[in-house]
């Protein structure tokens, strides 16, 4: 295992891209290569994780904040990132939404990153590869997909939120299965309660071809569709505020109420923690493929809460550490 620090205060590499060049330069590693981000910088880069050599011996590439480095943001205005407070990742140009793309069939773990104004594109070639875990992805509409996966990429315990009104046909946040399985476990897909959806393809899952897309324990909130009716992902234990899922889901929750489910789903005070007593609490199913912790690093109950954030244990209120809202603090150790 090799760990390189990334930041502007005399770390090993000043930018993520320089770390990427290093990874390409060393050739196929035989142990995990870890890039640890420090909040010296906002990392306003478009990073393309392609052409990295495939590690041997089960090793993988990992990008995450260093221990003690929080991913924080302003509760009052989540569209404004405070560089002094955290580790995040945004689109440098502000208009082209590809800050992060992993196109090689190499195993990669993105963990606890905040990706703004863009999308993460993970596109394997059929080999199990990319895991996006406990990340916050914010995307203004109508940019292209917030998150796009092909072939075995998995999103777990992630929050996807659209920050502006939708328009047109933006294909927001589709999870695409082209060659092989793509999965979303225990994620919250949401649009602010005061923002409108576009006119088409506003669902989250778009399964282009192939089979194997699996959606489980996830919330779809304030979207015009969960996924196009013509596509048939495997899905169970999900929750939506729509009247029904496109296909029957005997174990899911429909017609959940935004204001009964989230502390504050509005753009003026965004907070996607689950309210005490919300119907999604304990409505999920334990899954060995999921991580044992939620977005914040809290150990999941059994059965777990549907969505990225575990509900208050025992019906009480959220611990004080979480009362700052989802956009302010993920202040946990780098690993769990």
């Amino acid at each position: 295992m090799t760990t390189k620090t990334i930041g502007t205060a005399s770390r090993d590499y000043a930018t993520i891209t320089l770390w990427l060049a290093y990874l390409q330069g060393i050739g196929a590693p035989s142990a995990d290569e870890i890039g640890e981000l420090y909040n010296d910088s906002e990392f306003a880069e478009e990073v393309v994780f392609s052409s990295l050599p495939t590690p041997t011996g089960g090793a993988k590439y990992i990008l995450r904040p260093a221990t003690g480095q929080a991913m924080m943001d302003s509760t009052a205005n989540p569209a404004t990132y405070d560089q002094t407070k955290g580790v995040a990742w945004k689109d440098a140009s502000g208009y082209f939404p590809v800050p992060c793309s992993q196109t090689s069939a190499v195993p990669f773990l993105f963990e606890r990153l905040q990706i703004k104004s863009g999308r993460v594109t993970v596109d394997g070639a059929g080999a199990a590869n990319t895991d996006v875990h406990r990340c916050l992805l914010q995307c203004p509409s109508p940019l292209p997909s917030n998150a796009s996966t092909n072939a075995d990429a998995v999103f777990r315990n992630c929050i996807f939120v659209w920050t502006t009104d939708g328009s047109g046909n933006p294909n927001q946040g589709h999870i695409a299965s082209v060659f092989d399985s793509a999965q979303a476990y225990a994620c919250t897909f949401a649009r602010y309660s005061d923002k409108t959806a576009g006119t088409g393809n506003n669902g989250v899952v778009k399964q282009y071809s192939g089979t194997g897309t699996n959606i489980k324990n996830s919330i779809f909130a304030n979207l015009s569709a969960c996924w196009p009716a013509a596509f048939t992902p495997t899905h169970s234990y999900n929750a939506t505020d729509l009247s029904a899922f496109p296909q029957a889901e005997a174990t899911g929750l429909t017609s959940i109420v935004l204001t009964d489910t989230f502390e504050s789903p509005s753009s003026s005070s965004p907070d996607f923690r689950v309210k005490s007593g919300a119907s999604v609490i304990g409505a999920g199913v334990a899954d060995a493929t999921n991580y044992p912790v939620d977005f914040y690093g809290t150990t999941r109950a059994n059965p777990p809460t549907i969505g990225a954030i575990e509900g208050p244990a025992g019906g009480g209120s959220q611990p004080i550490i979480k009362r700052f809202g989802v956009f302010q603090a993920i202040n946990r150790a780098a690993s769990f």
């Binding site: 090799t2 330069g25 060393i26 392609s50 440098a92 090689s104 596109d123």
Partner: protein
């Protein structure tokens, strides 16, 4: 001044054109930093980055990276970088010796790491950069928004 961090390591061509599009080639500007910015301790020591200070601000050199405008390949993946500098010509005009350990990889504690070599920070003029700058070898595709 702005600070170019240039990839200065030979890499064999990849048979897959899509993979090749994402690779760093020798002479590609990996990052453009602000005046005097610390590029990183590994960058200063490793044998495959060339550090050159150039006139102007970092924002003036956005064309050297893929930041804007992004150009997509046939899989809707942005090209890694748009410009390649002729490092050999640049080193010659600047009077800088080539990095000896350009392609070296060492094994340390069982893991591959960049071979260490002190990398000098040299200063170039706009003329130096212009003379070493290649044009993109592909058309500037319009952005495709799905």
């Amino acid at each position: 001044m702005a600070r170019f961090i240039i990839f200065d390591r030979e890499t064999p061509p990849h048979p897959d054109p899509v993979e090749e599009a994402g690779r760093f080639l020798r002479g590609m500007v990996v990052s453009v930093l602000e005046d005097g910015a610390h590029p990183g301790t590994d960058v200063l020591k490793s044998g495959w980055f060339r550090i050159i200070d150039v006139p102007g601000k970092a924002i003036d050199y956005r064309e050297f990276t893929a930041a804007a405008p992004a150009t997509m390949n046939d899989k809707d993946i942005p090209r890694c970088r748009q410009r390649v500098l002729d490092v050999v010509a640049l080193e010659r005009t600047l009077g800088v010796a080539p990095l000896v350990a350009m392609s070296a990889v060492e094994i340390k504690d069982g893991a591959k790491v960049a071979a260490k070599q002190d990398v000098p920070i040299v200063v170039a003029t706009e003329e130096h950069i212009h003379a070493a700058k290649s044009e993109p070898d592909y058309p500037q595709d319009p952005m495709i928004l799905s």
